[in-house]
Subunit: 388 residues, 2 copies
């Protein structure tokens, strides 16, 4: 049985962006302290973390100091260096969760898809490609457009290039510049995601969320998704199957396609709390951040039950050029009952940069459509695009 | 309209105990930073605050530094020195909320009761006493036992001495040692409280909570209180009347008696977030801590609506002697769906010291009685009284 003392356990987190900040916010009530390693001085997590070590995600000295001061090492960005984490974890005898091995599998999208397909997780048709001829051959075999993906280094859709016609293959390959793969385009009804948690001898999944992307950036998540009950159940089942492939405890963001035929196919996996799970802070009994803290410490998981239908909408940088961050008309959010502001503390707003999010919970049984509209109107009422 | 930037506004908080800690937890999502002043190095709020200044609540240099670095000064203990706050607030042009004038009224229980009675707030019969003869005369006039109260310095029931028979008057007065008052004993059905928020040109009250005290220490709060609807409404009305007497923005904890006749009488006021409002973190749309942040900044208030029936139970030191804090069997709390642990990060457990609390939200319409029982069983399952 767990005994809690003061100071409680310390989490060493590689990365101190908004995920690290929300992790620290969730850790505090549990008596858990957070130290983050991030290259940006005064990173988003800094004001609420016990301390920030300033250093890169692959800064050996920084990671070693983090490991020595922490009871468990974890990361909030998949850019963390798995080899370094593995070696320092072993040298300092500090457990790393999720396991660096998982990062290794996820980092290379081809390796990832193969491991998942082998485990029976449904994935779109995919294959490695080296030449434009390979791409065209895949298009012929799949009978349509494909998504060309850099095998490594992608993030928020970066490194993904749609190839609609065979003529585009060369240019697409050039822009990816490096080992690549293609996937058949999925004719999807909607994009959905499951936040899944792997604990010590147990696992749990949150209710299905529906995601609206633009330019491969997440704009909104609607929970519960507007999928049928069997589809939602199937999605959570697939997420559980994905967890079985992942090594080490923690939260995983599992992005899925719901096809027009109601099939569930895996899209991508993030081995960390995920933007499409921010709704859980207000919308679920225990948030994805609290669950990550519990999981990596080997503590019992909390309930993933839905508290109320919820929409979260990202505060993306609606500016043409970078400038000091200032969000105008915040009162509109503050005044709205059930709207919850989450500010990430980034000093500079850049085009489409994630600066914060607003979560809106359902009022008076208004229904998801009205709720979604209300959230979108709120989002439209605030802006970074103000006179400087 | 409010514009939010990075860094956001800074709150300077006198006191860095659990209230300061939960204030910092609530401030972060709003982009608000917290600096606390507290005499205990590494106080409960320290791990999540931007910084702790180490200094007493009446440390002039400390308060001045706090004022210079903050956009608004506030306090989480009523022991804050009102004169110092007022003077430094003026000298540094930093607003102080609630107003030091309010502290002045609240500090002296006699002045407090007079101000409230004058404003039409219902209070039990009370009067100043100097001698044992005064006490006995009051007992004769009120027709029963009285509560003898030190006019200043009381806290968590300290300084309150029940006087059941005229013979006890001398000894009671001696134990209070200082200016005193008496109040008629209230034959109450239950003790209840309203958390009330005074904002900029608006105010709000949370649903009525029912409090169970032992030895004048709060053990549990049950929300909604088991009072009738008209009584609950009346209590919120009285709380609004109390707010009208208070100067300056912020959260006030307003403790009330519900008499056997269903009358509402004021008991005590705390000019800060209150232990009996901790349930709001999970049980209300916006917590008392978020409301305090919004209020003192002059931002719009959030919704005080109940999300779900809730019980909060304090983790009081169940030890005979002080010792390093270690709470055993925490898994029992962590495993319970809808149970939320709040650990205050105090290094030493002392008899009946407030070390944390657990909030339990209603499941499957179980009803308040079952919920309360469940919370009490949970509380009983964890203990600080373990082999050292």
């Amino acid at each position: 049985m767990t005994t809690l003392s003061t100071p409680g356990p310390t989490l060493g987190v590689v990365g101190g962006g908004q995920l690290g900040r929300m992790l620290a916010e969730a850790a505090s009530p549990l008596g858990v302290e957070v130290i983050v390693l991030d290259p940006t001085p005064d990173c988003p997590a800094a004001p609420v973390a016990r301390e920030q070590l300033v250093g890169g995600f692959d800064d050996e000295d920084g990671i070693r100091e983090l490991a020595e001061r922490a009871d468990v090492l974890t990361f909030e960005i998949e850019l963390a260096d798995q080899d370094l984490l593995e070696r320092i974890g072993e040298e300092t005898a500090t457990p790393v969760h999720p396991k660096p091995e998982t990062l290794r599998v996820i980092h290379d999208k081809l390796v990832q898809k193969r491991a998942l397909a082998d485990a029976g997780v449904p994935v779109p048709p995919f294959r490695a490609v080296e030449t434009a001829a390979d791409v065209r051959e895949a298009m012929a075999d799949y009978g349509g457009p494909v998504m060309l993906k850099a095998r490594t280094g992608g993030y928020d859709g970066r490194g993904n290039v749609p190839v609609e016609t065979p003529e585009e293959a060369e240019k697409a390959l050039e822009s990816v510049a490096g080992p690549a793969m293609v996937e058949a385009f999925v004719d999807f009804e909607r994009e959905v995601s499951v936040i899944a948690v792997k604990g010590e001898g147990e696992h749990a999944t949150f209710p299905l969320g529906e995601n609206r992307h633009e330019d491969e950036i997440l704009w909104e998540t609607i929970v519960p998704a507007r999928s049928s009950e069997p589809v939602a159940e199937r999605a959570r089942e697939v997420a559980s199957d994905v967890l079985a492939v992942m090594e080490g405890r923690g939260v995983y963001g599992i992005e899925l396609f719901e096809t027009v035929d109601g099939e569930i196919l895996l899209n991508e996996i993030a081995p960390r709390p995920h933007n499409s799970g921010h709704w859980t802070i207000e919308g679920a009994v225990s948030s994805q951040f609290e669950q990550h803290v519990r999981a990596v410490l080997g503590w019992p998981l909390g309930s993933t039950d839905l508290r109320t239908p919820t929409v979260s909408t990202n505060l993306l940088g609606d500016v043409e050029e970078s400038r000091p961050a200032a969000l105008a008309n915040v009162d509109r959010v503050l005044e709205t009952p059930g709207a919850h502001l989450h500010w990430y503390g980034k000093q500079e707003v850049r085009p489409l940069r994630k600066m914060g999010h607003v979560t809106v919970t359902e009022r008076d049984g208004e229904g998801r459509e009205a709720l979604l509209e209300r959230a979108q109107r709120l989002r439209a009422a605030v802006t970074f695009d103000v006179d400087q």
